[in-house]
Each structure stands twice: as C-alpha cells, then as structure tokens.
Amino acid sequence: MSAPSPAPLQRTPLYELHRSLGAKMVPFAGYEMPVQYPSGILAEHLHTRAAAGLFDVSHMGQVRIHGPGAAAAFECLVPGDILGLAPLQQRYTQFTNAEGGILDDLMATRLEDGLFVVVNAACKADDIAHMEKGLDGRARVEPLAERALLALQGPAAADVLARLAPACRAQKFMTLARYSLEGVAALVTRSGYTGEDGFELSLPAEAAERLARRLLAEPEVKPIGLGARDSLRLEAGLCLYGHDIDPTTTPVEAGLTWSIGRRRREQGGFPGADVILAQLAKGTSRKRVGILPDGKAPAREGSIATDASGRRIGIITSGGFGPSIGGPIALGYVESAFAAAGTALQLVVRELPRPAKVAKLPFVPQRYYRG
C-alpha cells in the first residue's frame, strides 16, 4: 500500500515539513503530496471551516506572462474578460479548445505589465506549451518553477495573516497584493478553493518552509492535506479539473457562464466561441448540478443517474462525503430537464438505484471577503 512508486515523483519545497508533521504522502499529478496529517481528513476539513488551514499547493503551475499586450493576447485563449481586469484584479477562467471543451481552468491576475496565472498541476506542461503557441510572441511566457504556493483558508485566515501583513484585512476577494512577510517578498491573492475566506501566497521556494512554519505556529492554523482540500471544494461546489470539467465539457454545460464576460459573449474571439455562444443562446442538453443522496451511502465518480423508470439521465463526476454537511454529496451532469433544484432522481450505487435530489450549489454558504 505504501510501497514507493517506480516513477520518479517530484517534491515541493515543503516535502520535509510534511514528513516532519507526520503526513501520509501519496502520488498526485507527478508529485509526492500530503493527503492527510495524523488528525485525519474529517478533523482537517472541519478545522478549516472553523479556524484556518494551511495547504501546500506548490505543485500547481505558476506562470508570469510578460508584456503590455499580455491581457489582449491572453483573450485569444480564454472566454474570460481579461482586458476588463483592473491592475491586481483576479479572475477565474478556462482554456477552451475549438469544440468549446475545457483544456484546463485557471486563475489569471492582471499585473501592471502583464499577467500572473495559476494552472492545475496535472496540466501545467501542456498549458505552458499551449500559451506559448497561442500567444505566439505577442507576450512572453515565463514558468515560475522556483516559487512555492501556500493557501491559508478559513474564517481566521485574515486574522492570522494580518499579524504578518496588517494591510491584508482590507484586501478584497479576487485581488492581488504584494506583501513583505517576515522579509519575504510575497504575491498574495485573496482567493482559494474551499468556499471560505482566505489567501494564496506565492513565495520564493527557499523561503516557503520558514513561512509555513511561521504560519503553523499561530494557534488557529493547522496543516491540511489534499483529502480535505477535495472535500472542502466539493462542498463549495467548485469544479475539479479532469473530473467535473474536461475537454468534452463546455463552460456553459459546467455552469461556469458567470465566468464569461459580457463583452466576450458579444465579440467571441476565443477557441470554441461558436459552440459556446450558441449554447449561451439556446441552452445545453445537459448541465452540471449538485446532487444530495437521500440516504447515507456516498455515490462516487462514475455512478449513473437515472429517472424513476431507470432510464439513464446522467453521471456523477465527483462524489463523496461532506464533513460539514454530515452526509454524502455529489456533482454530476444530468439532462437539462432534470437540472432544477429539488428534482428527484436515482443514483445507481453497487447496482442498486438509490433516491437522490438535485441540490442548489454551493452545498455550504460561501464566505468570501468582498469588502
């Protein structure tokens, strides 16, 4: 079970810290990552919602796009309104393909002279090649391989970070600020992947362990592994790339139309715009929804959804147990006629159809700081 994998796995700058904290390490997207610490996924999840959790997300891809034309050029790759971002404003968007499918989802922050982009670990090599090809010399792509990324998430995150950077209290959701944290130059966005208030801290790799230990020394902060990261984002209704969204799903089907700017809807000019704009106008045959099983049995990824007669109407793309909900929760795609909250359907788990209902997302209220 814990035999080392034959493929060489990369390590983040916090590898030794994870080991010293007693983490259970697992292979994830080519990295050896902590799935949980000794307190376990349930405790880590609930602690993040009650106080503050520190996550190592250094495996994710951080990329700097240089040049005054970076925002305009980047719009040829994504449906998000990037030109409309004020400096230091951040936006969630997706790389789309010619069919309107999603190649990856990402966070893009406008800087004074370019962009700061964070992409998924498993996609980062492909994303960098895709950006270099798509930007075609109009902006320079610089992978920031020597930087660590920490996420500090939870209702106490601002109180904790304010002890190192008092100005962070006033920083608004989806903006970036530059702070000196104990003398370390950090790029800090007020965003995350848990549904809670919180920050993501981009740091030079060599300073990451010292700052992580400094944050963990605060009484509100505990280290949180990838297991709780997944249950937290699932309760928050957030998509996991490669599961809830992939090259065969469009942002419209995935319920991400809010991330497509109005100007982009009028003008297009991104890969798959014809498909995506037609779907915005006419609707889609399927939609991503939240689903609450009636009983206690989780319905995992790949479980089939049926109507009362047993006809297949959809599939679960993420499913598990929501520790803050205290029961099973799931995301999946269903035929649009079944997508309204409250619609009854069945989920087939171990060959047995089990009653469930479409639920409003997120499963837990978002607690972002909008100022």
């Binding site: 349930l42 999840h45 997944d230 206690k296 049995a297 989780p298 995992r300 520790p323 099973p328 171990r350």
Partner: protein, 124 residues
C-alpha cells in the same frame, strides 16, 4: 480462535459457534475516517473471498470480503449511526457482522495474529 486475511479482515470464532467479522487496525489506519458502512442483509449467504460489506472513508469505498463461507446471522446496527466506531475500535465495538459458518475448516488456511503482524510489516 482469531484469524486474519490478506485483505485485512479478522474473523473470531465465538463460544456459541458463530464467527464475528471485522476489519483490522491496519485496515482502519489505511482507510482513514470511516463515514459509511454498508452491511449485508441478515440471512444472506456469503462465500469465502466474496463481497460481503462495503466500508467508505471520505475518499473512497472499499469492499470487505467474507473470510469464510456461511450465512449472515447478525450485523452491527450501531455502525449505521456511528461509522467512526470502525476507527475507534476495529477489533471490538466496530465489528461488522456475524456468520453461521458453513465449514469451520475454512479458517485453518487463514493467518494467525503473529503471521498477520509479519504480513503487515512487509507492507510498510
């Protein structure tokens, strides 16, 4: 008599001739927090090595196999409301089900406590 399988179930022969089945300390540590247990119906016939129950952690569902063939005589109803008993007390309060064994001789092929301990050491 207490025996163990390579799939990390334990089976204990009770004084009344029935056999109690659960998962081991090693298994519960590997699973992490147990959030749901699906138990077989009382009266169901199970086959040695066949599916008998399902234990789910936050992350994944795992099959629990029958260590021996027989008929399910009782199940641990407490696990429905308190699945964390499997973590807290895997060898006692967190038991899964009791079997009326078809053939007690099937237990002879399983590991005793010492052999199972060595088997687990080899997995680390």
């Amino acid at each position: 008599m207490l025996k163990f399988t390579k799939d990390h179930e334990w089976i204990r022969l009770e004084a009344d001739g029935s056999a109690t089945v659960g998962i081991t300390q090693f298994a519960q540590e590997q699973l992490g927090d147990v959030v749901y247990v699906e138990l077989p119906a009382v009266g169901k016939e199970v086959t040695k090595g066949g599916d008998a129950a399902v234990v789910e952690s936050v992350k994944a569902a795992s099959e629990v196999y029958a260590p021996a063939s027989g008929k399910v005589a009782a199940v641990n109803d407490k696990l429905a409301g308190e699945p964390a008993l499997v973590n807290a007390s895997p060898m006692a309060a967190g038991w899964f089900f009791k079997l009326a064994l078809k053939d007690k001789g099937e237990l002879d092929g399983l590991m005793d406590e010492a052999a199972y301990g060595k088997f687990c050491e080899g997995l680390h």
